[in-house]
């Protein structure tokens, strides 16, 4: 039977005039409509990605509303308040005249922080400071997701309306990366909700271990520090005030401490997570020179200015990680790098300072899930 079927198929497979006409018509149609077909295929891909982005945004919003409504407001009230903050933005200062641009940026960032903090008081009035900061950054993740969704939707609608291959192609080609970033923001919400350290918390985690149980004090806005002995040197270790989600003002803290000692600081060591390149191992510890801090500018400027003013060497220790690992739950290998970083700090202190010198060590990053003193709270 199979043989008979095979024979039949072979007979119909002959190249007759009908096949040629069909082939030529197909080629002619493809000549004119290939780009439209391609555009349609890409539009479908964007549509699918958009549905996924919407799913991430809705899920993150739902989780945020659920969590925030546990602290003094009903679900409906939280939802209505959240609608008000959706689409929140910060306008970058004008740089056409660069004079004072960093000061202006600093002011805008402060205003934005105050605005969000006040909003959190309104949305979760019964939450403590720790929970409020976690909620604030959980919400920041939702806002970022919402913004990604809006941008992709914008290009999708524009591309579909105009059938312009450029609009469609540029968003389609970026889709895998956009989805990867969106997924990271979506996962980050869970870390902030539960107060779990994220990849960026490695700096504060190292600082906490270096503080070795010493009683900390607040040295600047949301920055705590304690003096300890490291290799016979007086070391003042600072970190953001935890265990809520805070980065604090490390620039202000370093400036204040250095100015307070009139520049009598032998070395500033900064520890922070740094973006790894593809192919580099996660949690690789590397060293360099400069202010290791990933802020938009104001904090870094303060540190560089005060270090330059008093000619204090700036030593940077970076823990390499994927930028998306930095905003999601800390991976085991990153957490395990703490001991190596501490060893590097000790080596830098030994090689660059003398016994009795004063060293400033800053653990930079978000301190979510990292307390202020080892054994300090139960």
């Amino acid at each position: 039977m199979i043989q008979a079927l095979g024979m039949k198929l072979m007979q119909t497979n002959q190249s007759d005039w009908f096949s040629w006409i069909f082939f030529l018509i197909f080629i002619t149609i493809m000549q004119f409509y290939a780009s439209k077909l391609q555009a349609q295929l890409w539009i479908n891909e964007i549509r699918k990605a958009l549905a996924k982005l919407e799913e991430y945004t809705n899920d993150a919003t739902k989780k945020f509303v659920e969590e925030a409504s546990k602290y003094g407001r009903s679900r409906e009230e939280v939802e209505s308040l959240f609608k008000r903050i959706k689409g929140f933005f910060v306008i970058q200062p004008v740089t056409l005249d660069p004079f004072g641009a960093v000061k202006r940026l600093e002011h805008l960032l402060e205003s934005s922080r105050d605005h969000l903090n006040k909003f959190m008081l309104e949305i979760a009035p019964k939450a403590d400071e720790w929970k409020r900061s976690n909620l604030r950054d959980q919400m920041a993740g939702v806002l970022a997701l919402d913004m990604i969704y809006r941008i992709v939707r914008h290009y999708f609608i524009l591309g579909r309306r105009t059938q312009n291959l450029i609009y469609i192609a540029q968003i389609q080609m970026l889709l895998p990366e956009i989805l990867r970033i969106a997924k990271a923001y979506w996962k980050a919400g869970e870390a902030f909700r539960r107060g779990i350290p994220i990849g960026d918390s490695i700096g504060p985690m190292v600082a906490l271990r270096l503080m070795n149980g010493a009683e900390p004090r607040e040295v600047a806005e949301k920055i705590v520090g304690a003096e300890v002995d490291i290799e016979g040197r007086r070391a003042f270790v600072i970190k953001a005030k935890g265990p809520g989600s805070e980065v604090g003002r490390p620039g202000v803290a370093i400036e204040r401490i250095v100015e307070g000692r009139e520049g009598d600081v032998s070395l500033i060591i900064m520890i922070d997570a740094a973006a790894k390149l593809e192919g580099e191992p996660t949690a690789e510890v590397v060293e360099g020179i400069g202010a290791a801090i990933g802020d938009p500018g104001p904090e870094k400027l303060r540190i560089e200015e005060v270090a330059t003013k008093y000619r204090i060497p700036l030593h940077a220790i970076a823990i390499k990680e994927d930028p998306l690992d930095a905003i999601t739950t800390m991976r085991e290998e990153i957490a395990r790098s703490v001991d190596e970083v501490i060893e590097r700090v000790k080596m830098a202190v030994r090689s660059k300072t003398l016994p009795g010198d004063f060293v400033l060590i800053a653990g930079i990053g978000n301190t979510v899930g990292v307390g202020n003193r080892m054994g300090g709270a139960s």
Binding site: G6, G242, A335, G369, G371, M374, S378
Partner: protein, 140 residues
């Protein structure tokens, strides 16, 4: 120990059945083309033989791709699993302990709920991290 699915939806049985059916169908058609190709070759019809064998190879290629996609879809779900662990050290004897993360845990916290199984002293939270399965880590 708790594990997080991270919201990724598990593919339905219908989805897998559909892919398996497609794969079986493609494999059968490919075998038929192979058979036709070999028959043509024996009959001395080289043009048809080449065409049918090429179709058979292409069909097999598609079947392999379908199987790969299906395996990938299954693995993608498994890769999402991760455990959030809290590492504790005994404040007295230094004994280490790992357990699932609990709400309220933070690094530096002296946990009253966790007593050292060896000496009974309170334990200190020294680290909290996500343990990612080895396979997913290798892929990353």
């Amino acid at each position: 120990m708790s594990s997080e699915s991270n919201g990724k939806k598990r593919a339905t049985t219908g989805f897998y059945l559909f892919w398996v059916a497609s794969m079986v169908g493609i494999v059968l058609i490919s075998i038929l083309f192979f058979y036709m190709g070999i028959s043509s070759l024996q009959e001395g019809n080289t043009t048809d033989a080449i065409l049918n064998i090429v179709m058979g190879v292409a069909g097999m290629g598609i079947a392999v791709k379908v199987a790969y996609d299906m395996a990938k879809a299954r693995l993608a779900y498994q890769e999402e699993q991760q455990e959030i662990l809290t590492e504790l050290h005994c404040t007295s004897c230094g004994r280490k302990m790992l357990r699932a993360f609990r709400e309220g845990d933070f690094v530096g916290r002296l946990s009253d709920q966790d007593k050292c199984p060896k000496c009974g002293a309170p334990m200190l939270v020294v680290s909290i991290f996500a343990k990612i399965p080895k396979k997913a880590k290798e892929k990353a």
